[in-house]
């Protein structure tokens, strides 16, 4: 019953999306009334219905209703409750339902709260949102129904053990909020193009939504990186896996987008460019979904290998992106050129930021698609770090230099002499770090440059606060400083990890001590352990840092029984200056145990930096929203006052 109820809710939601689209379309011809009467309520109701369908799916999974095909394939009565629920989106159909639920929720939310735009633009925006959402409803209902029933309920296969981890509960929903949140930017861009309303006011409306999606993306990528770092047991935190790239590309586009939206909001420049980025950002989300969900790429994330689904998503992709780009081509010429600015100005710096981010986006996109292109010609290749790292660094590193200088510049026009002092100071810091690291450590060029730039960006991050009253400083400025500082922290972590990680691989007898960097690690015992749905061989290690007190670590090799599979669970020990990472392998015939140990100095800075970047974005968003709320309250008060005066 529950499953059928969910399916019915989903069909109703799809019907409402169709209604929303038609009403918005007609409203464009007849005038604004359609919006208040039909479009907004339809968007909100559609969001509620779709949310209801998703709740039904969660319910079906929570009670492990094995008569539902999806549950039978991906869940098991013995799994802990959190994995039962998270299992709802640990598969193709469920994750697509999560995707469309967030999309509907985002549409409902803008319909509910956004009142600043002209009614026609708003109706066009909600119409565009309905169009995109409708495509995904069709995909779910026609090609991947999550509520499909089974004639004879089986045992329940269980969730892929790699996914039986708390990370699954948070990582996909967060990332999806980011991916799909960008659909709002897309719809706003289409709405603005349709009604030719590309104004600073429009940019101010769009900005908090983009920031919100971008924050989710940032957190999702950071969390996903940490998850794969400890779960896969390879000691790496980024593999340039196609699916990681699929999340990085929308992030790069969204980063460029909210920087250019700021220019549009503050200075009324970069109009067409901002619209273009709005289209590109969500296109990247959709391309990512296509790459992952169609199964044309090898990846641990690829749930489904089903040609019909791939074709369906490809068709959606072509219609949405192609349509938006065609609209852009037709209308871009009619959007008047924005305000002008000098090359040396805040705008100038942000243009360089945008161009560089776009270049990196292009590089990542080409690298991700290249294996598909060559495969069409019968040649199989894989593209990895030897391509991505140096080639993207060629564009990222100059961008980071501009990032250090840009925020010091004034809008519109600036002079070099005004900012000479801080620039010289930052350059001196950079040179000192460069020389010091080079003389002391003698590391590879890329890491050396990374460390230097981390110092430069960190030194410059808080310079925009110079000479301003800290108490009266707007929140978005704090946000910018913290986010830029976060980039420096993350870059520092990446460079140090890459340059100074120590790895030891050996087979150890019980009682033997292995040295790795400053650590002495002793294998005390190997013992069997049992969990709720697995058994494991667990190594007991005691590790001491530079002869200090011993800490216990228990890396395991786990064997799950539904589905039957073995995974290695790494054990980590975190200090302020890095992490000890331990993995246990198989026993050798002569009774020793394989151990793989890493000492990774300052590796945690990578994710700390990611969180700081997200925090910066959060402060900026809160600042913008608070300012808007204050303005709304003030306008209301003025209206009330005027009415009183008129009455008196």
């Amino acid at each position: 019953m529950i499953a059928e109820f969910g399916l019915a809710a989903l069909w109703l939601a799809a019907a409402l999306a169709a209604l929303q689209l038609v009403a918005a379309w007609l409203g464009q011809r007849t005038g604004g009334e359609a919006l208040a009467l039909v479009v907004r309520p339809a968007a909100v109701t559609q969001a509620l219905l779709c949310g209801l369908a998703f709740l039904m799916l969660l319910w079906v999974f929570a009670r492990t209703d094995l008569s539902v095909l999806l549950v039978a394939e991906n869940s098991n009565p013995q799994s802990p409750l959190i994995f039962k629920i998270a299992g709802a989106w640990g598969n193709h159909e469920g994750s697509m339902l999560l995707w469309v639920t967030i999309m509907a929720a985002a549409g409902g939310l803008i319909a509910l709260v956004e009142r600043r735009l002209p009614e026609r633009t708003m109706a066009a925006t909600l119409g565009a949102q309905a169009f995109v959402t409708l495509g995904f409803y069709a995909f779910i209902l026609l090609a991947s129904n999550p509520f499909l029933r089974l004639a004879t309920p089986p045992q329940g296969a269980g969730l892929n053990p790699l996914l039986q981890d708390p990370g699954l509960a948070f990582h996909p929903p967060t990332l999806y909020c980011g991916y799909v949140g960008l659909s709002i930017a897309f719809s706003f861009a289409v709405g603005a193009l349709l009604t030719r309303q590309v104004t600073p006011e429009f940019a101010k409306v769009m900005r908090p939504w983009i920031l919100g999606a971008w924050i989710f993306l940032t957190i999702g990528i950071t969390a996903g990186s940490y998850w794969s770092y400890y779960e896969l047991g390879w000691g790496g935190w980024w593999f340039w896996d196609p699916v990681e790239n699929a999340s990085l590309m929308p992030w790069l586009a969204a980063t460029a987008l909210f920087h250019s939206v700021s220019v549009l909001a503050s200075r009324d420049a970069l109009r067409t460019w901002t619209i273009m980025l709005g289209v590109v950002a969500f296109s990247m989300s959709m391309i990512g979904t296509f790459l992952v969900r169609s199964g044309i790429l090898t990846s641990v994330h690829a749930f489904a290998v089903d040609p019909t689904r791939g074709t369906f998503i490809l068709a959606l992709l072509v219609i949405n992106i192609g349509g938006a780009l065609a609209l852009f081509a037709a209308r871009a010429g009619t959007i008047a050129e924005g305000e002008r600015f000098s090359a040396l100005s805040r705008e100038g710096g942000l243009v360089i930021n945008n161009v560089m981010l776009s270049a990196v986006l292009g590089i990542v996109l080409l690298g991700t698609l290249y294996p598909l292109v060559t495969e069409a010609f019968g040649v199989r290749v894989s593209v990895g770090p030897p391509y991505f790292n140096p080639v993207s660094a060629i564009f990222l590193f100059p961008m980071l230099v501009v990032l250090a200088v840009g925020p010091l510049l004034r809008w519109r026009r600036d002079t070099f002499t005004r900012i000479k002092l801080p620039i010289v100071a930052v350059a001196v810091v950079g040179l000192i770090v460069l020389l010091a690291v080079w003389l002391i450590a003698g590391i590879a060029f890329l890491e050396l440059l990374g460390l230097t730039l981390a110092a430069v960006v960190a030194a410059a991050a808080f310079l925009p606060l110079r000479g301003r009253s800290l108490r009266r400083l707007p929140l978005p400025v704090w946000g910018m400083c913290i986010a830029h500082f976060g980039i420096a922290v993350a870059l520092f972590g990446m460079s140090v990890d890459s340059a100074f990680t120590v790895e030891r691989l050996s087979a150890a007898d019980v009682g033997q001590t292995i040295e790795v960097g400053p650590w002495k690690v002793r294998l005390d015992a190997v013992e069997p352990v049992a969990g709720p749905n697995w058994t494991a061989l667990s190594g007991r290690l005691s590790a001491s840092y530079e002869g200090g007190p011993a800490h216990e670590l228990t890396p395991m090799s786990r064997t799950f029984w539904a589905p039957a599979q073995t995974t290695s669970e790494s054990a980590l020990l975190t200090r302020w200056n890095g992490q000890l990472y331990t993995v246990i392998g198989e026993g050798t015939p002569d009774g020793r145990w394989q151990l793989r140990l890493w000492w990774k100095p300052f590796v945690t800075c990578i994710w700390l930096g990611g969180l700081l970047i997200a925090l910066g974005g959060f402060l900026a968003m809160v600042g913008r929203v608070a300012a808007d709320v204050r303005r709304r309250v003030a306008t209301r008060k003025i209206a009330v006052r005027r009415a009183e005066v008129a009455a008196a």
């Binding site: 270049a359 292009g362 039957a564 392998g585």
Partner: protein, 153 residues
């Protein structure tokens, strides 16, 4: 540095700047992809036409039953990867993936040495019984076909 763009031409200048940067990125990417992508080989290809030792490649095939040996250090493995026509000796130091077994499929990432051994830096095996590396899906089917052809001769 302080001069403004010619008023009329600002949009044009920006478009050209963006195009140049993106084209440069594209050209650079194309050049780097040609040089840095690692090609996929099966044993008979790698034996007949071995790649340069400094070039990263992937080798896919079956771990030949009975060929897997662990060196005295307990972490270095030697085994033969075979596609029914040719076999290549592979050396790997590390913790093998959980489903790495004799007789199962494997994709090894690494370099082909001058002496004809393949030194793997990473092994990709099946993640679970449903997941097979893409390169191996075809291979096993092809092998199955060949095996059928041979046995029904």
């Amino acid at each position: 540095m302080t001069t403004a763009f010619k008023p009329k031409h600002q949009r044009l200048v920006l478009v050209i700047l963006a195009l140049v940067a993106i084209l440069a990125a594209g050209a650079l990417a194309a050049w780097a992809l040609k040089n840095q992508a690692s090609y996929f080989y099966i044993p008979s290809q790698i034996v007949s036409n071995p790649p340069d030792p400094d070039r990263g490649v992937r080798l896919g095939g079956m771990v030949k039953p009975g060929s897997l040996k662990t060196a005295p250090d307990g972490v270095t493995m030697h085994f033969l990867v075979d596609d029914g026509k040719a076999e290549v000796p592979v050396t790997f130091a590390g913790i093998a993936p959980d489903l790495f077994r004799e007789g199962s499929g494997v994709v090894a990432e690494g370099h082909m040495m001058k002496d004809g051994t393949f030194v793997a830096s990473n092994l990709l095996a099946k993640h679970d019984e449903n997941y097979v590396p893409r390169e191996l899906q075809d291979m096993t089917k092809q092998q199955a076909r060949e095996t059928v052809a041979e046995t029904t001769k």
